[in-house]
Symmetry: C2
Subunit: 399 residues, 2 copies
């Protein structure tokens, strides 16, 4: 499995092409991207649970699941959220322009937008750039991955090949996200493409399960976006189906791993972030508690700033676990570790060389482990530290 942030080449699965161009909405950076399947493809999606949904989100929710999807077009710079009927019309025009180039129906085209809320799309520029966008598409993901970024510093792609009983399939994941990241159903924008032949119903289950342990377990700032969505497209171009149970397990596990890597890449690239924080909560009495508590720790600005200061402040972690309603008696018996050092156990601080712990925090990945010793459920959440740069970025981001 190859995480591909940076400029390295990320191949797409068979039958897929992609591209990105600058259509003029943003001044210099590419701002319009497309993923194309050369044949109608199975496609499923998971979407933001924010009640304020952008026009493209509603559009895709209406179309999916479908086995007829040809493309996903995405613009960055303007979110097309809170834009009323005009926004719906502009979104439709975007899908229409793609359909014209691909000689397919508009309902075979998915749309996504990311950027400033409340601005009307500069749809003229987008429609005008469409012929060039489609013409430039190639069999690698980089230009698309670049075109969908907003405050992200690096493009985010992962690709892998899985050997199934009937042959090899490729899975390529692409995502973006840096601020307004607290997915509740899916990430800011995620795309998982495969040439495997996957039945429609199975595709939806795989995507939902994988989302719950990946994108839905990261948080940069606790703000759930209006535009979150994650798509899985399976066009079958490899000719390789999911034939056996082992095939299904191998394929689902590869999709899940890709989505976990993508999710982590968003946390790593969180606005202003310098450190990835991983919180593993184990032996919880139930799953929802495990998920909430793990995610709660990654959300705490006090934990985030302590880690930014490379300070093993376990008291703030404990306080957040209590605030997330981890039962008091479990807080008395649990073990709390940071970077492998036990800091709190059996209701009291552990004797530990604080300077030794502090020294291990001078790295870019911090592991916090909480063992509740009260059951068999576990959850892992990812977040990032909180730096002054986060404040800079969001104080200055234009509206």
């Amino acid at each position: 499995m190859t995480p591909g942030p940076g400029i390295q080449r990320t191949p797409l699965p068979k039958g897929f092409t992609a591209s990105g161009v600058n259509c003029g909405v943003r001044r210099y950076r590419p701002d319009l991207g497309i993923v194309i399947s050369d044949r109608p493809s199975v496609a499923v999606g998971v979407f933001t649970q924010n009640q304020c949904k952008a026009a493209p989100v509603t559009h895709c929710q209406n179309l999916l699941p479908s086995d007829q999807i040809r493309a996903i077009v995405t613009n960055s710079g303007q979110a097309n959220a809170a834009t009323g009927p005009e926004g719906v019309e502009n979104n439709r025009a975007m899908a229409f322009a793609v359909a014209k180039e691909l000689t397919c129906l508009p309902r075979q085209v998915l749309t996504a937008s990311t950027g400033v809320i409340g601005q009307q799309l500069e749809i003229g520029k987008i429609v005008e750039a469409m012929p060039e966008l489609v013409e430039r598409s190639t069999d690698t993901a980089e230009s698309f991955a670049l075109a969908i970024l907003t405050t992200d510093l690096v493009p985010k792609t992962v690709t892998t090949t899985v050997t199934l009983s009937q042959g090899d399939v490729r899975i390529t994941g692409i995502c973006k996200g840096s601020g307004m990241i607290h997915p509740n159903m899916a990430t800011m924008l995620g795309y998982v493409l495969t040439d495997c032949d996957v039945p429609l119903g199975l595709a939806q289950d795989i995507l939902v399960d994988a989302t719950n342990v990946s994108f839905n377990m990261i948080s940069v700032d606790g703000d759930t976006s209006t535009n979150d969505c994650c798509f899985l497209m399976a066009n079958g171009a490899s000719g390789v189906p999911l034939k056996t149970v082992e095939d299904l397990i191998a394929f689902k596990s590869a999709v899940t791993d890709i989505m976990k890597l993508l999710a982590q890449s968003i946390a790593v690239d969180g606005e202003g972030a310098t450190k990835l924080i991983e919180v593993r909560l184990s032996h919880a009495p139930d799953l929802s508690l495990a998920r909430r508590a793990a995610r709660g720790v990654t959300l705490s600005p006090l934990v985030k700033t302590a880690i930014h200061g490379e300070d093993p402040n376990w008291g703030r972690i404990l306080a957040r676990l209590g605030a997330e309603q981890v039962p008091g008696p479990l807080l008395e018996t649990m073990t709390l570790k940071m970077q492998g050092f036990t800091l709190f156990e059996n209701g009291r601080p552990s004797p530990v060389d604080r300077e030794a712990v502090r020294a291990t925090l001078k790295t870019d990945k911090i592991l916090i482990e909480v063992n509740l010793k009260a059951g068999s459920f576990e959850a892992t959440a990812w977040g990032c530290d909180l730096s002054k740069k986060y404040v800079d970025i969001n104080t200055e981001y234009p509206t």
Copy 2:
């Protein structure tokens, strides 16, 4: 009603005295304070809902409600939370030392602590300073208000006199709080003292109702403390009872106003804050939605940073309302105002002079009004902007 932050004199109600000294836990600042009633007093409390409760919180929960309370002793610098049986023992020793000075029973003494979680109290220093602390007590609140501060920049007191049917009573409120502020039941530490004669059962109701519209509606950083508590002490020293329904209404309304001013003073003094944010949510279909949505907006780091940058970024407010599950149809019909300017209405951005709005944000109080046009419930929440100084303070705060 006189809000008294700063060095001005804040009188205590009859029969109450208070003081604060440096006992040596902190290097220079006063770190030990006490409020004393010259007679047994009615006392009630509301406490953190964090499952990780400090030793003094459990102590007070066990004692209250009571009509026999003589004093509340409070130390700052060490929270006595997550300190195991030794912490319970130290807390008991603190109450014991006070009881010895006042010649009363230890169970007539309430305790509170604020500061670093997980350190054992330097109880020797605290006990040693007790005679001086009690001896120095006077009829004003300043020295106590100073002794309970941690990262606060200013002491927080408010006092008022209410004229009831049988005479005048005084109510004086004191609180502290700047970080780890997202009260869920009460503020970090709040004290409301009165010489009115209030029945025990009524006192509890008044405190709970007033807490729900004051301390429970502020947030600095979304982190609920392990030590939150708010006390109401009514010693009856004025000889004035609550006789008529009008008396009750006047008294309760004065207590509520005092607690709202105290709550706002905490938000104003939030770590790194430069602006108070007030969110008024009106015409909501139910109260819990109104409270959650109003408070959610004050919690959003994206809203907080936008306001820090004096940017009328209503898109972030709308996104947060949606994330708090304000129903989509209401988001289409609501009106959103900032500083009196309508920014979003009937599902689309309002035509507004953005520079005119921006100019009104160059002040230290920002008003956001959301009218859901769907019912008769309303809620007001207070928060503060998010600055780089918040990150500085919490990156450097010692553990």
